[in-house]
Symmetry: C2
Subunit: 223 residues, 2 copies
């Protein structure tokens, strides 16, 4: 049995600063997403990460420093999930599905919104990503309905996508469903996409017709 003395693959060391830092960051993401900044507990984060509580102060600048570091890394990842060239309704459908596949990310944005005091750690990337969406909207709805502000419209759609995470009480009361139920989230995501189509956003900038539409049609509204 060959004993690898200097294996090229980094063998599992007992002490690895980078690995430990990442473990803490991941644990922090879960804890902050679950309870917000004020509700999160350093002890709980350390326990999740399986490390001593003191390491949080050792590697980061206390609770606030950890929160800032975690926010930046998180948003940096988050800003790279959008594929350009995808039709808007499909993009919205996918973002609404984040309520199911990445609820922590959605919650993070929501917490940051309520705790917003003027500075937005790592918000530049998200803004850049969203700006592309604004352009898509502008090119689609611009000549059709010149009184609609693309910026506001995108904000509305984004808020709408996040509703299963941000307004679960309302959904539970109104739809008589568990807001986390995969079937409902899928239904809701579909509805968001359909609303976007109804607003005339059903084609991407290259003129490709939206493939997501199924039985949806649009008769005269009488307006």
């Amino acid at each position: 049995m060959p004993r690898p003395r200097r294996s090229p693959a980094p063998q599992e060391r007992l002490r690895d600063a980078e690995r430990t830092k990442q473990r803490i960051l991941d644990a922090a993401a879960g804890e902050f997403a679950a309870h917000g900044y004020a509700g999160a507990r350093i002890r709980a984060i350390a326990e999740r990460a399986g490390v001593n509580q003191q390491l949080v102060s050792y590697y980061f600048d206390g609770k606030e420093g950890l929160f800032r570091a975690m926010s930046e890394q998180w948003q940096q990842r988050q800003a790279q999930i959008s594929e350009p060239g995808t039709p808007l309704p499909e993009q919205l459908r996918r973002y609404a599905m984040e309520n199911l596949h990445n609820p922590d990310g959605v919650r993070m944005v929501a917490w940051n919104g309520l705790q917003y005091t003027g500075d937005d750690p790592g918000g530049t990337e998200r803004t850049a990503m969203l700006a592309r969406g604004v352009e898509q909207i502008a090119s689609l709805v611009g000549d059709d309905n010149p009184d609609l502000d693309p910026h506001c419209l995108l904000v509305m759609l984004m808020a709408a996508c996040m509703a299963p995470t941000t307004l679960p009480q309302v959904i539970a009361g109104l739809c008589q469903t568990d807001p986390k139920d995969p079937q409902f989230v899928e239904h809701y995501a579909d509805q968001v996409a359909r609303v976007a189509e109804s607003l005339g956003l059903g084609a991407d900038s290259s003129g490709t017709p939206s493939p997501a539409r199924r039985r949806s049609r649009r008769a005269g509204t009488g307006l």
Copy 2:
């Protein structure tokens, strides 16, 4: 100078349990709305109310009891601000204006959403109020677009209305505006109403055409 010994108007007493309780409730609303449950401080609430901290435990069942009592009273008030018979776009415009006139109310709903664990203190009234909105939507959009779920649509619109409070970072980054600026909020509220109209919700159930539309028109969308 007549000294009123038994004035019919309740003269200002030095000690008035009901008045103090209400002061605490009001202060609690401001504090909880500003910082959420975990971030709110009993000391700060007592300071806001101008009373001794101990009175919170005396009149209510600790922090949690105070939060519950405050939530119930708040939502009970909140559920009575909707005037039936108002066209949906106008109702939405007014609700979006709450971001300006009653930001605490909007923030309360948002905090409750993120902290939702299954029970919703006093959510029955809000559900009843929103159920009327669902019926309006159903009667308006039902035969026009049978694939749109009125429940989901109302949830989306409500989340969209709350965006200036729930997603101020996004608005600040995307619209280059102060999300609290009255001019912007007015603009945003107008936009929400216009979107509702574009979705075919521009008339109330009695068939009255929407009075809120100004320059908005509706050409063929090409769909």
